[in-house]
Amino acid sequence: MADISSNFLGIKSPNPFWLASAPPTDKKLNVLRAFEAGWGGVVWKTLGSQVKNVSSRYSSVDYGRRRMMGFNNIELISDRPLGINLQEITEVVKLFPDRAMIVSLMADNDRKSWHELIMKCEDAGAMGLNSILDAPTG
């Protein structure tokens, strides 16, 4: 049997399949389910200054009889309090230490905000950071 374990910059995961920073990775309950299913790692949904999301949030393009050939999303970064996200990240890392835990960040556009957020994420147990310079819908 081939060895499908992955080493990304020293961040190890049992397989090369991570969940991208998006709605499925925005809280402990989902991420635990993902890890139980076998995902190698997650990029926790982008943290920054807390936002408010709207309803509705998604639309899609169907093609023929297939649903969701393309998917469109207007959800912003995490709308949960930063402290809760960080606490849950710590808890998940303790429960699944063999999985990659990357935290996605988009701080306000100044050096101090980025530094504070990076420090908090590292303290929470992040193994890597995903810096978002783009508008992170989803």
């Binding site: 992955s6 050096r111 310079l133």
Partner: protein, 284 residues
């Protein structure tokens, strides 16, 4: 974009990206992956700026700005928010080819190829994942497929990857990461003497005529129709076929139409050599 007054411009401007990544690298003590926006004409300038500013890795692509459609009853584009909509971020299987192209440009560039890349953009199956990795991604990230089918899709991805690697004799991921990058070249380096022509397997043909219509109306009139009862018979006019693949692409039967190699000449000749030699241009 939907972010409130920040974000997009930072990721689109290489110099601002360089500054922000610089801030991040001043503080971070763990690996930093910078996610690139596809909403630029090329991801290489922003990718280079991020790598030069010290980013340990890149990931791409983020979502593509889009309007997915307009409701023809309400006349409001979707998704609907109290009679309005906004541009959203497009992802899912439809964006995979765009992501693969952008990934390849990162893998081919001398600066951006120095760092590992995490591949994103419509990865739904183990096959998609392998394609991203062959074009330079060290791993992949998935979202839409999980939102569509649930987390358990990873079970098939794990077993599919394992089986494919065993079949191909790859022991570890590094054995094939980036293996297909060099196979994407410049148009002027392609071999002009390479030629293939279509062949229709008459045992598999269901006589639907889709290949005939496509070739007749929009391509090179290279399929002959012999009208019959109850079925018409379709055969390739080999001297007219330019080997475009269209008939094979429209054929609804797997492996019914195959492309058979039929070189013009044995030696490799690219476009520059071809011009120097004064060889003939299209003769039909």
């Amino acid at each position: 974009m939907t972010e409130r007054g920040m974000g997009a411009s930072v990721g689109q401007d290489p110099e601002i990206a360089r500054m922000v990544v610089g801030w991040v690298m001043e503080k971070a003590t763990i690996p930093v992956i910078t996610k690139l926006t596809p909403n630029v004409h090329s991801v290489v300038p922003t990718g280079r700026a991020c790598v030069e500013a010290g980013s340990n890795a890149l990931s791409l692509i983020n979502t593509i700005q889009s309007v997915t459609g307009v409701d023809l009853d309400t006349l409001v584009p979707n998704p609907y928010v109290a009679g309005k909509s906004v541009f959203g971020g497009y992802c899912g299987p439809a964006v995979k080819p765009i992501a693969l192209k952008m990934l390849t440009t990162i893998a081919q560039d001398e600066i951006t190829s120095r760092v590992p890349v995490s591949g994103i953009g419509g990865v739904s199956t183990w096959r998609d994942a392998v394609e991203f990795m062959l074009l330079g991604a060290s791993n992949v990230q998935v979202c839409t497929a999980a939102m569509n089918h649930g987390f358990r899709i990873v079970e098939d991805m794990i077993s599919g990857l394992n089986n494919w690697m065993d079949e191909k004799g790859f022991d570890k991921l590094e054995d094939f990461i980036g293996r297909s990058v060099a196979a994407i070249t410049h148009w002027e380096d392609l071999d002009i003497n390479y030629h293939h022509i279509a062949n229709i397997n008459q045992d598999k043909c269901i006589h639907c005529g889709l290949c005939y219509i496509a070739c007749e109306d929009t391509s090179h009139q290279s399929i002959h129709i012999a009208r019959g009862n109850p079925y018409n018979k379709y055969t390739i006019i080999e001297e007219e076929c330019v080997g475009c693949n269209l008939c094979k692409l429209v054929c609804p039967v797997d492996d019914c139409i195959t492309m058979v190699e039929d070189r013009v000449a044995p030696e490799y000749v690219n476009w520059k050599d071809y011009q120097k030699l004064g060889l003939p241009l299209n003769d039909h």
